[in-house]
Symmetry: none
Subunit: 214 residues, 4 copies
């Protein structure tokens, strides 16, 4: 089998077998039998540095996770097209009945960078990233055109704006609005400073991001 | 901050700060400065029991990860619509220049269950899961109508068929075909038996899934 | 005598005389005097790799064994033709009054391969294998025509389907139905992974095959 | 799984896993990969006391085994009916190209007993044993009606006659005749004295059964 998967993944799998599996075996068997029952859904970025399972040190079965470029939630569009993120949301809310949805952004996001460089050459003729990040067009322009902010400031600003925008888009899904008003579902925002492994959490009242008080 | 995020995530974050961060600090700082350079992209399911970072015991920066329901890759469609998975693919191939793409399926997949129950009541009026899983329509019928197989067998069969189908769809993206033929990119399939924490790897010649011979 | 039997069998017989016979002598004498009283009948394949006496490490007298190609049970047909398997069943049930019947299949079965290649050239003009395996026609087609499964997957699927079909055929024998309903006879399915010497047992409720959870 | 198979078989399987599998693992893996290549086919009785794998202490992959009541070979009948034994023969000769076929009888055979009691009450309305053992009608009558022999002598006589008769029937299969004349296939007879665990081999010239000279 060693020729069937990248070597570094096989090494890691062996490490999983040796170190983690022994203590998780019971839990995994139970999770397979009873099905998953996560209380929380996390919408995170594909970025290799921001796995929510690492940041939140979660166990198997603990979080239901969508990962797309720049952790975006498109607005509700029951239009006949297939939508990866909306399908995951529907499953999390109606089948798993999660109690929390967390939109998790991070610093140095390549998707945010692309959203701030709309006139850049597309990565490929299909320009999939360009189309995907155009989801942020309604909120990216004002930041992108603000010459008084540095590049880093524009990025950091849009990373936070995008999290709040995705949360606003979550609220375009009728069942989310209903569940929130019944107190059965809470929406959260968070942002990770990769360089420090530091988490910032969004104040739901003000939209501000705050570090935990160490 | 304790009121801003689900309690179990804050507990997990504290555990990350105490146990993992000290040994990752150097690496994270470097990853933030130089940007991510993962060699491998993993397309996995949202399922809470199948985080690739846990199965492969990966470090931050090691794998670029898309997670959608049932780890599907839609076929290449440069049609003007936004496609979460295609955008991530484009970014992985053109910006990150990954050398491997792994489609990682798993047992007991709720999306596969939905694909095998096409006449079931939609989860919500939008029927996002129904539309998303209709991506498998071309390959699901023959399995779904086989009354001589058990439910579990139909599921296990379609889980594997779907992985091969997603790999075939990857090959509808022109740059993937080109990179593969130049030997710069390899496509892989894998499947996880949740109950056992056991990995099965796809033989790229035959499409069969094999357990490592311990 | 050395010229009367294949050398490897004589070598093996000498090994039996030296190693096993001394401890079995008492038991064999008693079995010859009182007659056999096995509690279990096993219907297994002729395949040289799947002797039930080896897999189940049984003692002389422990299991009554039919072995035919692909461990098939034909349906009840009191039609005047002689049927090897039906005769053995009748003897096991009425003369030996066994309490268990186990249909034991295995991976890589040549008979199953033939059943999935109905248009192949017959092995000989009599086409005995073709006729024998046509017993599976009612259940083989749906698997055989599924182009989305690999050869190995089609085989593995039909191996399991055939076990369940043979068990269903056992239930076309009126006395088996009667004994089962009286709780005097149990029917079982099992499957062996030759490469690993691994046994999978059939859940009688669902028909699924499960590995023992070591 | 303990509820899915008879307890004594599970105990035996555990014994196989503990004692025999470790030393057979390599061989089994190879046999699974390369397919079976037995040199010898054995036609034995279903009787629980006469497993050829025990008498000949064979390893997995060594002998291809048909077991039916009284180890009979029906004559060649390419008549459209399915015949378990003929199918196995065809497979052994044409697909496996075995070099030896051994018909293995034994003392105290219940099928031979039935053949000598043709007017007994059938075991069931289908009378499958009666029909099956009627294969011996052409050779059983003279012994059965010989009042000068004891029961035990009549049984022992017919057990040996039946072995020679099955060997004669083997020679009604055209390819067997051809292969024998080319020196590519040898036919053998053997008989086991259960009480002593003692093997008798047939002299192919005379048809006599002889004990190995201890």
């Amino acid at each position: 089998m060693t020729r069937f998967l990248p070597e570094h993944l096989l090494t890691g799998y062996q490490s999983f077998l040796d170190k983690r599996l022994p203590s998780e075996r019971q839990r995994l068997r139970q999770l397979a039998e009873s099905g998953q029952q996560p209380k929380t859904m996390v919408i995170a970025c594909c970025d290799s540095r921001t796995a929510p399972e690492i940041i939140f040190d979660t166990a198997p079965g603990e979080i239901f996770v969508v990962r797309n470029v720049a952790n975006l939630v498109p607005p509700y569009e029951p239009d006949g097209e297939y939508h990866a993120t909306s399908a995951a949301l529907e499953f999390a809310i109606h089948a798993l009945k999660v109690e929390h949805i967390v939109v998790l952004g991070h610093g140095g996001c390549g998707g945010i960078h692309a959203a701030l460089s709309p006139s850049a050459e597309p990565l490929s003729p299909g320009d999939f990233i360009g189309k995907w990040m155009s989801l942020l067009d309604p909120v990216a322009r004002a930041v992108g055109s603000n010459d008084h902010m540095t590049d880093l400031e524009r990025h950091a600003a849009l990373e936070r704006i995008a999290i709040r925008y995705s949360i606003a888009n979550l609220r375009t899904f009728p069942p989310i609005v209903a569940l929130e008003s019944e107190g059965k579902l809470s929406l959260h925002g968070a942002w990770v400073d990769i360089a420090r492994g530091e988490l910032w959490a969004m104040d739901p009242e003000t939209g501000d991001f705050m570090r935990p008080l160490e």
